[in-house]
């Protein structure tokens, strides 16, 4: 006899839907649950849909749950999510996940919407002794960078591959890491983004002598 117990989804109201770049949105949801920074939500349009996972991109003391997402035109969820308006409803799970990044000193490394858990951590006062390496193709793809400029100051390092601007490194973050004669081997390294970035960065870190057990990655899939 099969006893199906899937993750329960609960209705939640959209407070705001902000377009922050073409096809990239920051959704503010009613704060239905408390959570630990670094955790994820399973999100679906209907209660019985198969949900997708999104990192929470807001601090624990904010009165909303922030979700950063880019629109996958072939996806079943994000094209509709991008059209949501204040007062609309969608379904979320209770927060879960273990990418809590509790080790310090640490280097956080992210690209794209992989910055989301670090936004939550920084806004939750978990950014002491942290250096952030943030990669993007264009200047406007450093999503939610104001948070990091304010909280991390000089420890916030942006790497842009296709555009130049003062205060932002022009080039790949992998090239930067590769060019470092030494990387601190006693640091923890927390990586978040697509799998290819994680693999490439992890290989460089290991090659530079960082023990593999100091590297924790969250992969978006």
């Amino acid at each position: 006899m099969i006893n199906r117990k899937r993750k329960e989804l609960y209705p939640v109201t959209v407070i705001e839907n902000n377009l922050i770049k073409e096809d990239v949105h920051y959704l503010k949801l009613d704060k239905k649950f408390s959570f630990k920074p670094g955790q994820v939500l399973a999100i679906a349009l209907k209660q019985n849909d198969e949900p997708r996972l999104y990192s929470i991109a807001s601090g624990i003391d904010k009165d909303y749950l922030g979700i950063l997402f880019d629109v996958n035109p072939d996806g079943q969820l994000t094209p509709t999510m991008s059209q949501l308006k204040s007062g609309d409803q969608l379904y979320i799970s209770e927060p879960f996940g273990k990418f809590l990044c509790e080790g310090t000193p640490a280097m956080w490394i992210a690209t794209g919407t992989g910055i989301a858990p670090f936004v939550s951590l920084a806004e939750s006062n978990k950014a002491n002794n942290i250096t952030l390496i943030h990669g993007a193709r264009t200047i406007d793809a450093f999503y939610l960078q104001d948070t990091f400029i304010k909280i991390l100051g000089e420890n916030y390092n942006r790497f842009c591959t296709s555009e130049q601007q003062e205060g932002i490194y022009h080039g790949r973050l992998t090239t930067y890491l590769q060019q470092q004669k030494q990387l601190p081997t006693d640091y923890k390294y927390y990586l978040c983004g697509n799998s290819q970035m994680i693999i490439d960065v992890r290989e460089i870190l290991i090659e530079k002598g960082v023990p593999f057990d100091h590297i924790i990655a969250e992969i978006y899939f």
Binding site: M1, I2, N3, R4, K5, R6, K7, V40, E50, P51, L53, F96, G97, K98, F99, T111, G112, G135, A136, R137, A141, F159, T161, S162, R172, L173, T174, G193, N194, S195, Q196, M197, I198, I199, D200, V201, R202, E203, I206, E207, P211, F212, D213, I215, I216, A217, E218, I219, F221
Partner: protein
């Protein structure tokens, strides 16, 4: 315009094709028979179909079968085949002949998104999902096809990350109108993508193999990023919610890394985690991949570990290593063959 592949379509999908072509519904059963039982090489060979039906099918469809591009053979008879997929990507399948059985290990994705530290396929990143036809082509176009007795989904990719196509391929293999295999001849692996694993358990009857590699959350996170969102504990709790009956097997795969996951603490951790599940633990020797920080445990340590777990009542075996001389880790052949996509990276 490229023709659509017939191979990999379920009976229902074949019925839709026949409806679209204004052909009688029973043609779908005939076509399934030619595809999956008689293994024809072209639509023209389907000689109980009318000429008109064959012409209509030929206009829009092809079989979609592709022969392996090359293979390597081990001294123990293991053969590793390299298949090219649409778009010049490569996947690997391993044929493992034994005295009483011949097993094929198939891939379910080109590359993989999961980023496990010890996996060569992970180094390719993710390139694409295989269609059900591309999964089945690894069987259909295998020179040893007719000698196969068992099938494992343990090649490149995470099967649960391509669950729709994996389930479709399983439906075709196990249906009377398809290959007609018993699901007990098939084993599907996962690192523990819980929602899809739940679908697999409910919608298939095949065996399940969970890649565990550590019973401890912090340590498993270092080896397998999936642990951040779906912990081993959740995976095991999910499995405990189902009745698998006497015939359906659950196994836990455990690659042994020297000094990392092969201690007495791990014996205790595994015993606690797997308490109450009727399962088998397969200990696997780690084949080092280039630039890996991990090393395989010694044979003596693996035997000690097996004996400790067995003494705790856990059915534990050391998996026999196959094709060591050509092994070099699953994913190596195709990684060498990987044609750079030239896609611009944002990091």
């Amino acid at each position: 315009m490229a023709k659509e592949a017939l191979y990999g379509k379920t009976l229902n999908e074949l019925k839709e094709v026949m409806t679209e072509l204004n052909l009688p519904s029973f043609t779908s059963k005939q076509v399934a028979d030619w595809l999956y039982k008689k293994h024809v090489a072209s639509i023209d060979e389907m000689n109980n179909l009318s000429k008109k039906a064959r012409a209509l099918l030929n206009e829009k469809y092809e079989l979609g079968l592709i022969n392996p591009e090359s293979f390597q053979e081990s001294i123990d008879g293991t053969k590793k085949y390299l298949f090219k997929t649409v778009g010049s990507q490569y996947i690997e399948s391993a044929y493992l002949p034994e005295e009483n059985r011949n097993t094929l290990c198939v891939s379910s994705q080109v590359g993989c998104k999961m980023g496990c530290l010890f996996c060569m396929t992970a180094r390719q990143g993710f390139q694409k999902q295989l269609t059900s036809g591309e999964i089945l082509n690894q069987i259909a176009s295998l020179p040893e096809r007719d000698t196969l007795t068992n099938l494992v989904y343990m090649g490149m990719g995470e099967p649960m990350d391509n669950i729709d196509n994996v389930l479709k391929s399983l439906e075709i293999i196990t249906s009377d109108w398809g290959y007609g295999w018993s699901p007990r001849r098939i084993n599907v692996s996962t690192i523990g993508v819980v929602p899809a694993m739940r679908r697999f358990i409910e919608e298939s009857e095949a065996h399940l193999a969970v890649s565990l590699h550590s019973p401890f959350n912090e340590e498993r996170k270092q080896l397998m990023p999936i642990e951040n969102v779906y912990t081993a504990e959740q995976v095991v709790d999910t499995i405990k919610q189902y009745d698998f009956g006497r015939q359906r097997r659950i196994s836990f795969e455990y690659i042994m890394f020297k000094g990392v996951n092969d201690t007495a603490e791990h014996v205790k951790g595994l015993t606690k985690l797997l308490n109450g599940i009727r399962c088998r633990i397969n200990l696997i020797h780690f084949h080092p991949i280039p630039n890996s920080p991990l090393q395989g445990s010694d044979r003596s340590q693996m035997e000690w570990f097996r004996d400790q777990l067995s003494a705790k009542g856990l059915n534990t075996t050391i998996r026999k290593s196959r094709g060591e001389d050509i092994y070099a880790a699953c994913g190596l052949l195709s990684t060498k063959k990987l044609i750079s996509s030239g896609e611009e990276k944002d990091y």
